[in-house]
Symmetry: C2
Amino acid sequence: MEPIRVAILGFGTVGKGVYAHIKEEQQSLEQTLNRPVQVTAVLVNDESKHRDVANHVLLTTNMDDVLAQQIDIVVEAITGVESAYQYVTAAIEQGCHVVTANKAMYAARGQKLQELAEERRINVKYDASVAGGIPIIDTLNQIHQLESVHRIEAILNGTSNYILTAVAKEGLTFHEALTQATRLGYAEADPSHDIDGFDALNKAYILANLLRKDYQEITVNRRKGLDQLQLDEVLNKQTNQVLKPLVTIDATSESAIEIVVEPTWVEENHPLSSVDGVQNAIVISSDRLGSLKLEGAGAGEKPTAHAIVQDIVKTVKEDNRILV
Amino acid sequence: MEPIRVAILGFGTVGKGVYAHIKEEQQSLEQTLNRPVQVTAVLVNDESKHRDVANHVLLTTNMDDVLAQQIDIVVEAITGVESAYQYVTAAIEQGCHVVTANKAMYAARGQKLQELAEERRINVKYDASVAGGIPIIDTLNQIHQLESVHRIEAILNGTSNYILTAVAKEGLTFHEALTQATRLGYAEADPSHDIDGFDALNKAYILANLLRKDYQEITVNRRKGLDQLQLDEVLNKQTNQVLKPLVTIDATSESAIEIVVEPTWVEENHPLSSVDGVQNAIVISSDRLGSLKLEGAGAGEKPTAHAIVQDIVKTVKEDNRILV
């Protein structure tokens, strides 16, 4: 059987995780898909830095070389919007499916990509871009196609949640908690978008867009990060309340889907009050289902790689051309 | 467009819920599937009891009459094993897809049904049989096809959880709590299988079977219901612990998947300690994802109907013959 040929763009934590997952789970992937999955090319910034890739894999800094390899699926695991968008667009135009973990890019250009993808009858999947190992995109899509989702409440930035938990439960200062998060690998080398709320906002935007009807806008009513918290707001602990980096998406207005990103005091019986440390969680409220909560690892090499490989499997199963 | 023709077997809470859901969501279903969905026949025990079905729907006590209606999908929403199994088998043999909410039947005969269904290239879906509105079957299937799930901990019987919560938090006696659960419609008219643990065991069996490898047995190491609790076990409250109707599925042994159903004291930081009232929840532990928790409505007319309609939608999307 011809292998399914995968290219990985970017070889940081997520790219390496996907490479390792595909390598270690060759057998079960082949069993699931009736065809082997092979990483054929890896796009990097600097070839000399990456010796840990097998000889048969093309390691290159040139996207044209990647696309010359008859790739079936491109995994996009880089950061930033512009180059990522150009690479992914080039991949779609050449008929490759795309799986992305890049929330900033997908929040900004997801809709354009989906339109382009639809023209070419290509899949662009993005489950790993929001809440890592939690299968939120498909779950939300499936609920939304059956009934109105009126509200989402979520914790989508693990670093912020880790910091607030450490401040509340271990008595650390904000600065100590951030240093600890960085040392443990939870925060990015540059954690500014974790702290200023833009990381959570990008993810909220992706979820909101999934719920949006054509005539609706998405409005951001407030975006407040941990960096805007006053000390007295953190210390002024209310009885039976905990401070959580909350994302709220309100879909009850006819004209707009409204997003609020803001550290918020929640009651102890609030469904997100017990979500501690780097965990993420999402509560989906709809008419018939009531309230459904998903909680798990929001980031990390292995959970994110799992989400990406899950999207690869779904892509293959949905594409009869690949399966033939 | 020709409608997708659905038959509903059984017209209790669940059957009525599915009928109402399909009726109320005609438009969005047609939009999702590009074809209308029509309830064509309803199988009941006594026709005179059900006047609330539209005139164009065949209301009958005879399964042969149902199958004479060129049904695409049979929704099985009755209780008990034998008749349900015979009806469903007859449906499969005639080339109908099946969606079932019947945990006792599926736990006992699910594997046989899947074998029969595979021969006929028919789908048998059963998400509604475990934890109502929580999309556990697909989620677990998808994780399991990528990596080993080594453990599941869950609360799968809402009535038991309601009773233990009411005893602990409202100070009710066991008997008062059960009466209240029945009055509120949470417990069945005959709640004996909620109380003796067999309802939870059936659901555990369905999940265990999904994880089982061909050479593995499923063994039930313990099945203890609320009815076997001694008063001192309930009152002997440990500090910072809560008593929960726990289901544990251990998949770490090579020879067997091991099930324990038993009210268990769990620590306050246990992921299921905060799951109160009629809520269900499932914690899936696997190598790469770590731990993923799903929590939501485990029963009730609307959540269960949502799960069944979800399975109808998936069935249609997976069957190219129906879609043509």
